[in-house]
């Protein structure tokens, strides 16, 4: 890392955000796919929670630099592996979704930890007991390489779910539930510069 180099050629955060969304879409993962898992996990604990709240939460997570960079690197690795463009033996390791690889989980873990250690157990649970889109990614081995993507989608899901759990507590302290808040209010930082970190 070098704080000063390359400042001139810096990529604008809007471009990174756009690239992240495009990459997910290209790999067959929609914000709604992720929000559905979040909804299932959180609705038992949250009166009035709607899919719209969950979609807003996923959108907020996808605005974080740490999350965006992990997704871009992971998806790049998967796509390079699909095209057979990695060098040996990395090509085979990624290709075969080798159980002891570990780099895929580490990238997912880094993103998860920005939501606190309490998001870690949700991440582990989702990564192990793959549900919804995470399962579809993990099993469509014939059609492509998703060695990184399943872990990263589990990570984004855990982040968005954890965000709601924190927000629930805040609402409780105000004597409110999700019925009292519009989806936009779930992610107030998305309307303010510099608060997303």
């Amino acid at each position: 890392m070098n704080d000063m180099d390359g400042r001139r050629f810096r990529v604008h955060s809007d471009e990174v955000t756009k690239a992240t969304h495009e990459a997910l879409e290209r790999r067959g993962v929609s914000v709604r796919d992720i929000a559905e898992i979040v909804y299932e996990m959180q609705v038992p604990y949250n009166d009035g929670l709607t899919m719209k709240h969950c979609i807003e939460s996923v959108e907020s997570v996808l605005k974080k630099r740490e999350v965006q960079h992990a997704l871009l690197v992971g998806i790049e690795m998967d796509e390079l592996a699909e095209k057979g463009q990695l060098s040996r033996p990395l090509q085979q390791i990624v290709d075969s979704d080798e159980g002891l690889f570990g780099v895929d989980e580490m990238l997912g873990l880094g993103a998860v930890l920005t939501y606190g250690s309490i998001a870690v157990t949700t991440f582990g649970h989702l990564d192990k007991n793959k549900v919804g889109i995470i399962n579809r990614l993990d099993t469509k081995t014939g059609e492509g390489v998703h060695t990184f993507l399943d872990d990263l989608v589990a990570s984004v899901t855990a982040c968005a779910s954890s965000r709601i759990a924190h927000r629930t507590r805040d609402l409780e302290e105000e004597g409110k539930t999700y019925e009292d808040v519009s989806p936009e209010e779930v992610a107030p930082e998305s309307h303010i510069d510099g608060a997303e970190t």
Copy 2:
């Protein structure tokens, strides 16, 4: 962890915030002490950065649940060790600030990671090359036990410093510097419920 137990007896976040500030004060650490290190680290890269911006950044970090809980546990351990109330051999391990203990760094690391992996190197640097208040805590061994506190203060400092680095980038993209923003704007999430996570 249990999501449901004890909900009735839950402590309000205002009380936790208050306890965190009181604990730091009781242990001789002021927000200003921490902000001074942040200022020194960040001013070379930031035109117009003032102590007020740094104080706001530290205050924002100290509002995070993850940070508050780590501080409360760490300071409790230090204080119990000072009073000789830990059981053997933990009492001796904490007492002697045993170099291979590791739990103190782990608590600090957990808080740091909520600001992304880029805060980790700042944390490591501060923890190793102790400056300012961190050094004073580390060396006043005759007067008390600060086994956990020096690592936790290094952690809060790294968080607040990293917050400013992220904010700097946002400002750059808007064509602004810190000269253009009031300290309150540095921490906009502190005025909005539920956005602190």
Copy 3:
């Protein structure tokens, strides 16, 4: 942390190991309890795996400094909370096993990460879908505080399970299975000084 202070009063590692085993026993957790979960998790993938191999693996994990220190701190916190000796509001937070506490998971995570990021998902899974002794600890709320212990036992279980998964790979490469190795060989480092890290 301070590398030099207190070297004179250092606690011998044998004493720390002994204290760790005593603490687990005092809290009603046996090595066998943990090994049973490890066995259940690993036997589907491992021909010839026996409880003895799993017990050896748990014993090896319990020799690691990082694991021992995390257990000693976590159990101390639980026991102090039971006796009502923590200060407010930490007493209530630990007492109620507050879902957003996070320090308990962080301690467990630190130990888990010494076995690589692949142990993290097992930890998350066990912490969420509590089985065996982990479930008993989590639910016996009437009889004591186990806010830290359930996470730490999940952590030790994940470590021991991950150790076996790594060892399985090594055996495969030699054309062997667990049927070919005695339990002692599973943990060769336990017979060698300084290799446990």
Copy 4:
């Protein structure tokens, strides 16, 4: 991650180890370069420590799967960036060694954490105050991309240094120093199957 897929096509660990050494060599980093930093950091605390002990420690670290995989992925990313083969905007981000990237530090952190949280501060220190080969990698921007490699070399250095610190403690407890042990004894696990994890 998928435990079962691709088992047939699995790469042997010897091939991964060989590839790791070749990749480091190709990027201009020798085991000796790393061992020199380890020696400088550890010799003040260790009577009788020699370069040979340090070389053995680095070699041991480079046998760990977690470390090998992180190195292979990071070096692949650097080399692909050099050849301009990453997609936009990742190409620019890696090219410019963007200060807020974070994935490079995260990969380094994952490896470091397998040696416990105490290795984290050494990693942060080395990554920030680049010395020796780490500095040479960080500054030869004209000649190539080392966005990942400088962090990963800092990580391997921190691991090897931390290994020695742990070993020092073991020796102390036996009433010995490094003068009493041959370099081979520093890394006894390297002669035993399955103990390296």
